[in-house]
Symmetry: C2
Subunit: 463 residues, 2 copies
């Protein structure tokens, strides 16, 4: 059953007083443009080249993940993910959306005695020290997540934690505090796991970090915390099914990618705002940001021409950011599309007290539901932007549970590879970060990376 | 003593292989352009019109804030701020930067028995319900922060909490669980405070929400949690002192505003990335985002011409976002400047274990400090961007304590009003959000706002 709907009326010229896309084009040139993109993507899906399409149907891998999670759930009070980028954002997204941002602060009973889920996704010594001072490592499982097993930050954190565990629980017991999620055959983590008998889970070689949220990368931590990962995959399979159509107006991921690409390349709307009206979806916005930015921000197109292209995704949260960013969205340059995300049917609404009939300035609020205010603000902001000729679209989610979230995550992933084809770039890979890695190795004195001396800062240009 | 330095060499053409600003201009036309902006701002500072300049020197208001905080600190275990936008982001910034993002999760002893600090800055019913289920309201102080006393979201939260308190502790005791931070004379909160004897603190009428971090808005919650607010103001006064010079190259806030404005208006770098290499400064980036976006994103210039101007601030965090956004910064359109923020002299470095000499792939990490890796990654990313002709600048903070943070916050505030003068807009006010407010009132049935019916969604444009 479909749980996510895309409403794109406010991208079209009848709503925007002539600005925006002519709706006829949805059945003419844009339909054709999408059909070409669809065919590129569908060929790579059918050939198995784009691995994330298989994740909703990877039953055996999912069962192994759950079996390991079931065991770990009983043995530990805390799970700490050591990972960065796609190895971190997926777990944060699932945890915050389905358990809530306060999860780790809840008392044992409020958590149903399920483990806390922490993510160390930075080499900030203050964060490492604070976390280690806070948790009891004897009751903590560390999930090291790196496909290559060579990510400098993650491996540094692994070495810090391993030394700490050896001191705290001894060499023999330390291995029981790790689960590695990594390439099934290659890399440092895989070889350590095999040699030293450390529990491990695979990341399929054709699934890149930012497309890995439905792989063991994020499903394992989610399952440890009791999230219904089966429902996540059911929702994702539903999205996959919906996106088998080459007909633009039948394909929600296609409509989203096609209209955002057109707004950028034809009208200069290079900034794509993702703005859920839900605190639980803050991390989702950051997950989408990586997906959209790293996949589409590319120097070269598929023919090798220098294009320096890609939209800039901007996370926001309603209503909070109405008091921070919306002034700019309303009055600033016409360089943005806002994608709203509405959660309908909130299960836990809260009534606003009607005990103060005075002053009149407050009386309109009394007796309303907080969720009704949230909804009114979202609708009003959409309408205000529309009246200013600012394009928006709205993803509506019927109830934020695992199945609906799975559908949303898969829709966004598919939309991203469609957008890759529309922009004419390879949505996989991130060649632009290689130079920074080499320079870092040089600064750290790694063998083979010498001779990358950095220029000194010039004191004339300091104040 | 100065604790913040701006290194702007990588904005200039000698570093960027011809791209970027010609350094001679720092003493010719850009110096002149800045002098004009400085004079506008300095006149409004000297006349007292721009109120935030007075905050570092508002000794009496600060003493009253501290006295009230000293009392509340002993009586409560939790402080919950009800506020949104500038009424929320300042508190989050001070808490996370100086106490750490894990503060609320620490046990009583690790917190030195100081209160937890929560911020409810959204009307998400799930967040309200989760927080109320989590805290003991009998031990909780609620700080309602709204200058006008009319902010719909904040007043809705106030009514929810008040009804909840009346039920939990009774009408008589409920008043003791509130502190209002609001206009000293006007508005609903002020009149309730006076009529019902609720403790309150002032927000000076000429200090807008996004410029209020050094007022009781954020200083009260900070002082309750034991933050050295005197040191914050000392640092801010130092920044104020440094920015009394009309000579561009002597004024750090001036250099930042002038070079960012020039990069935008002359080279199309409309996206200004704020990227601290510190988890503790994530909230700072969001605070800066509101400051820069709401102040500069304006439809009209000071002469009333329609300009639709303003840069788009984009928060990022290093090194995490090297694995999310840096691919786009390196290879995407040349529409960005990255402002790095480096914290030197980290007090709590952590050593990477050197217990694994094999595999060789890891051995370069063993024995290094985590903070050294963080620093190397920042320097390498800066250099990689430079080699790609991408402009950056770096704010260096010598140790992240209250005094250095106060200097940084004041420098950013002053830079924002300089930028307002350079863009030719009024950096105060946010006229663009008024339409959305009126439409919201209409949807909620508030008297006087009827007749704002919203168009129905068109089912043809849904998928």
């Amino acid at each position: 059953m479909t749980r996510v709907t895309l409403d794109y009326g406010n991208m079209l010229s009848p709503s925007l007083d002539g600005r925006g896309t002519d709706p006829e084009r949805l059945q003419t040139d844009l339909a054709e443009r999408f059909r070409s993109a669809f065919e590129v993507v569908d060929a790579s899906r059918a050939s198995g080249e784009t691995g994330f399409f298989r994740l909703p149907h990877a039953t055996e891998m999912h069962q192994n993940t759950r079996a390991l999670a079931d065991r770990c759930r009983r043995e530990f009070d805390n799970l700490v993910v050591l990972g960065i980028g796609g190895s971190a954002l997926g777990t944060l997204t699932l945890r915050d959306a389905l358990l809530g941002p306060l999860w780790n602060e809840l008392h044992d009973e409020a958590r149903g005695h399920l483990p806390r889920i922490f993510v160390l996704d930075n080499v900030d010594p203050t964060s490492v020290r604070d976390l280690l001072a806070h948790i009891d490592i004897r009751r903590t499982l560390f999930n090291v997540v790196s496909k290559s097993g060579a990510t400098a930050e993650t491996m540094a954190l692994f070495l810090v934690i391993e030394a700490y565990l050896i001191e705290g629980v001894g060499v023999a017991a330390a291995a029981n505090h790790f689960v590695f999620t990594t390439d099934p055959e290659q890399g440092v983590l895989r070889s350590i796991a095999e040699r030293e008998g450390i529990a491990s889970l695979p990341i399929p070689p054709d699934v890149g970090g930012r497309f890995s949220i439905l792989s063991p990368v994020a499903l394992f931590p989610a399952a440890v915390a009791g999230i219904d990962t089966t429902a996540l995959l059911t929702g994702a399979a539903c999205a996959d099914e919906r996106c088998r159509s080459a007909v633009l107006m039948e394909n929600p991921a296609g409509v989203m990618a096609t209209l955002l690409h057109a707004a950028h390349t034809e009208s200069g709307a290079s900034i794509h705002v993702m703005m859920p009206y839900s605190d639980r979806l803050r991390s989702f916005s950051r997950w989408f940001q990586q997906l959209w930015a790293e996949s589409l921000g590319k120097a070269h197109d598929l023919a090798g021409n220098l294009v320096n292209t890609g939209p800039t995704p901007l996370p926001a949260v309603g209503v909070s950011d109405q008091h921070s960013q919306v002034q700019l969205f309303m009055e600033g340059p016409r360089d943005k599309v806002v994608v709203f995300l509405a959660v309908t049917g909130m299960d836990a609404d809260v009534k606003i007290g009607s005990h103060r009939s005075e002053p009149a300035l407050l009386s309109y609020l009394g007796g309303q539901a907080v969720g009704h205010l949230l909804e009114a603000e979202r609708r009003a902001t959409t309408e205000a932007l529309r009246q200013n000729g600012r394009p928006t679209m709205t993803l509506e989610i019927n109830d934020l549970d695992a199945e609906a979230l799975g559908e949303l995550l898969m829709l966004m992933s598919i939309s991203t590879v469609y957008a890759g084809a529309l922009y004419g770039v390879d949505p996989l890979g991130q060649p632009g970060v290689e130079l920074g890695k080499r320079l870092t190795y040089g600064l750290l004195g790694r063998e083979g990376f010498e001779g990358h001396a950095l220029p000194d800062s010039d004191p004339r240009w300091r104040v």
